[in-house]
Symmetry: C2
Subunit: 528 residues, 2 copies
């Protein structure tokens, strides 16, 4: 028997009951016989102010050539590690004089002598078709997002992940959280089961609970042995096999989806291997659940740690072909031949969080259901117009990927710096800590080797305060556990991010404070 | 017995149960004895990319001096009505050549010889304290909005409406709809009653229903007699007095709020008089309900119709003092001595809808409850930074009010044009139509005098299609009825907006098509 996957079957009752209509729009089927539309109708119906009322006539964007370019301009010739580590404090990099200076050397190297400028002009009207002018971008817009962005994101996904079936599309949302909120809303009924990673992004748990659905954790494997990718697929397989025995209280409940952050996992930093993804997708088919792939960091692929030898090199970044062939982890979309995967992306990490802009990639029928969500608000038009005009100026899909590769290179350097300075510490040498080497993203988890006979939870709590007293803020694993009692003996780690630091020196200082704090704690017999 | 108004008592069960916490933040009460915070902590906890990763280095805004300035530049000397009516089509006003031209005359008149430019530069870092730089504006932000905007909106409300009690504050949201969604969420339990105007903004009804609350209509008085302001306060008073008799099925239910659009009502266009507001507020106190004041259009105050004599005059706008003394309708906040009023504003109509930016003004305890809404997303940072930098360049609170006065003047002119051309039509002279003269906003309702013995609903339906065939789209009243069966004999009107038209000529053409369509319909014995 061949069962055809049918997205409608997975919609929540609420989503199924919604109709799509606007009070200012008539149903064409109610037209009287003989009705003929007018060739050039006038709109007195929508309460939409003409663009002539907008107080802005033009926006000009000045783009960056490279992340942290002002900071880097001070050491353009790929200087020694020490020279960059000397830059301290937040104010140095953006001193006013330095900022407005034009650097001929810089122009030559980073614009590749192309002579193209780095300014994008956004006029009130008359932008070319891939751009968004102010008359459109500052106006009310479609719930799904501007056609220009829908087209861009579709080309972007095709280039990078090329889903294994035809009927997929994209849908703009206000960052990943908003996309996840809308997905949860159209999928989950009260009592539905959502499998989640043992440690995960807490707001999603809140959304699941708000809908009356039930989050059930999938065991994480936090060992640092080679090849471990964090997710215990055998555990998942056994759980599904013997569901009713493990969770008699949920026997017969619908397991609707597995929510996963497969690449640069938050908080653990793990990236699922191809084999893991293949096995998980097979389980999804066998047990008939959806995969909600949350991937905010995946484009930041990171090679295994190697000791940094010098300051960030600005002419070393990958070509797009190299990146696609051997660096970028595959989305679950690649394995998806049916439409069982709903992927959420955000531009927060590879462009800027303040845009509040991201998108969902999924089967059209799921996106249609999201489009009927009456409380839905489209993302800011201002954000969409700034995003679209920037990426087009960068050179469209490939230009944006090239920008991502520069961002990525910066993160590679930062990861190696942080890893290196922890590895060189006494705390590491004394085996108080161990590092999960992240192969993507912006988080590094550091395991704390508290002896087995100690009260793990209590000791981790004390150590957290110890670290704060040492001037370093990190997230203790238990704070991101989907079920605190399930994880109480598996949460001995801190999530550190190397995304926020102002410069290399701050990463070094952070690593020092962190490892000193841990050492201090152990030296004090695990007391504050 | 003196009963003190206590906002907490009005919160929904859901809102009461929420706590506010972020997984990366520790509760200070859990710190061990002897804990001392570090003087300069490093943040390895929040997954917040440093601003050095953002691809934009600078944004430059070019502001307008006046709405529709390019269109107006062609007739700067306040020409005859005929001269402006000759400008047709959407492309004329923003022809590329015309657009970039500098007009010395214009500079002299509209910048008042101040010599100040109309450019606002937004740097990556180092903006002065009332401005928002890119490092902040493109970053993750507080749920309540940027402090600069919270401060601006507070000063703005103080200047314009000066609430009658101390503990009020503002809260930024993604346009008015989002503010209303969040308010509804923190107030309404299943089964709560929300009084609504008979004709109102339909998405709010959807929000009320989604929470299981019940919208109950308050009769609208649509007569055009002098002094009528649309709301039948006697009806409301009697309804509350004899609640259990009128609605036995809702006897004992909590009447939680009255949702109203008091100024430039959508769709009717009415503006509640001072007397009405006083009486409604007294009823709110007596029957202990809240007032949800939705006011997207209220700043566009409109004097009673007078025949337009010439094209829009650009040097006639009101001073702020004149506007405050005798034009701006008072917010319910003025009457509010307790915190019973929750007001929602948007910048969609007086700045641009694409910002998706508005704010709520209410008692701090209500705003705190909104701040705990876990699914809440803050408005776009891009939008906030563009808004804030624009209004500061315009001159802060007073500068922005002056901009609003220019917008308002444009709407005054447009209303008079539309009213005039309907009034001069044969359809009006033959008494097929009557006009509700709006004293604020962007909507004008035109009543259709269908003879009493006809099937009103059916005839209005046919007329709607007739108008579409004539090339004019308008919203039939029934589409905005809160309860279609309640309103079936009171919905003989169309909502026309004069906001969207490209120019005066389009308003004239629209009025002509509308009245011709009506006449055609009546001449054809009320058949299509």
């Amino acid at each position: 028997m061949v069962v055809t996957f049918e997205p409608q079957d997975y919609l929540s009752e609420k989503a199924k009951s919604r109709s799509q209509s606007h009070f200012a729009v008539l149903d064409p089927e109610t037209a009287p016989p003989g009705f003929k539309p007018h060739p050039s109708p006038i709109s007195f119906h929508f309460g939409k102010p003409n663009e002539g009322f907008f107080p802005i006539e033009q926006i000009d964007l000045t783009l960056a050539d490279f992340p942290f370019q002002n900071y880097l301009k001070s050491g353009i010739t790929n200087g020694s590690l020490e020279s960059l580590l000397n830059v301290k404090g937040r104010s140095d990099a953006y001193g006013q004089n330095q900022y407005t200076e034009t650097n001929a050397e810089w122009e030559k190297v980073y614009r590749r002598g192309s002579g193209s400028d780095n300014k994008a002009k956004i006029p009130k009207k008359g932008a070319s078709k891939d751009l968004i002018d102010l008359a459109d971008g500052l106006q009310y817009s479609e719930y799904r997002g501007y056609p220009q962005l829908l087209n861009f994101t579709k080309q972007f996904i095709k280039r990078l992940h090329n889903p294994g079936y035809e009927e997929w599309d994209t849908f703009m949302c206000q960052g990943a959280s908003d996309g996840l909120l809308k997905i949860a809303d159209v999928l989950f009924n009260e009592g539905d089961i959502v499998l989640v990673e043992e440690f995960t992004f807490p707001p999603v748990l809140g959304q699941i609970a708000a809908l009356g659905a039930i989050a059930v954790p999938v065991k994480a494997d936090l060992s640092t042995k080679a090849g471990n990718d964090g997710i215990d697929v055998d555990y998942l397989s056994n759980l599904l096999e013997s569901w009713g025995d493990v969770y008699p209280q949920y026997k017969g409940a619908k397991i609707k989806a597995f929510y996963t952050i497969p690449t640069g996992q938050n908080p653990t930093g793990f990236t699922q291997s191809d084999e893991t993804r293949t096995r998980v997708y097979e389980l999804a088919k066998k047990y008939d659940f959806l995969i909600l792939e949350d991937d905010p960091y995946g484009y930041i692929s990171l090679p295994p740690y190697s000791a940094p030898e010098r300051a960030l090199s600005l002419d070393q970044f990958l070509t797009i072909d190299e990146y696609l062939a051997s660096h970028l982890a595959p989305s679950y979309l690649r394995y998806d031949t049916e439409g069982r995967v709903l992927r959420v992306e955000t531009f927060s990490k590879v462009f800027a969080p303040g845009l509040r802009l991201g998108f969902v990639v999924a089967h059209k029928k799921f996106l249609n259901a999201m489009g009927k969500f009456q409380l839905l608000r489209p993302p800011s038009g201002t954000s969409q117009l700034i995003f679209q005009n920037t990426v087009e100026k960068l050179g469209g899909v490939d230009g944006f990927i090239n920008w991502i590769l520069k961002v990525r290179e910066t993160y590679v350097h930062r990861k190696n710096l942080l890893y290196h300075h922890i590895k060189e510490s006494d705390a590491y040498k004394k085996k108080y800590v161990d590092i999960i080497d992240p192969l993507a993203g912006m988080f590094m988890s550091v395991l704390i080797r508290i002896p087995k006979d100690e009260d793990q939870e209590k000791k981790m709590g004390l150590l957290t305060w110890k670290l704060i007293a040492h001037g370093i803020n990190a997230v203790p694993g238990i704070k991101m556990a989907s079920d605190k009692s399930f994880s109480k003996d598996n949460a001995n780690f801190f999530r550190l991010t190397f995304a926020a630091a102002e410069n290399d020196a701050e990463i070094l200082e952070g690593a020092k404070r962190f490892t000193n704090g841990v050492e201090d704690f152990f030296n004090n017999d695990l007391n504050y």
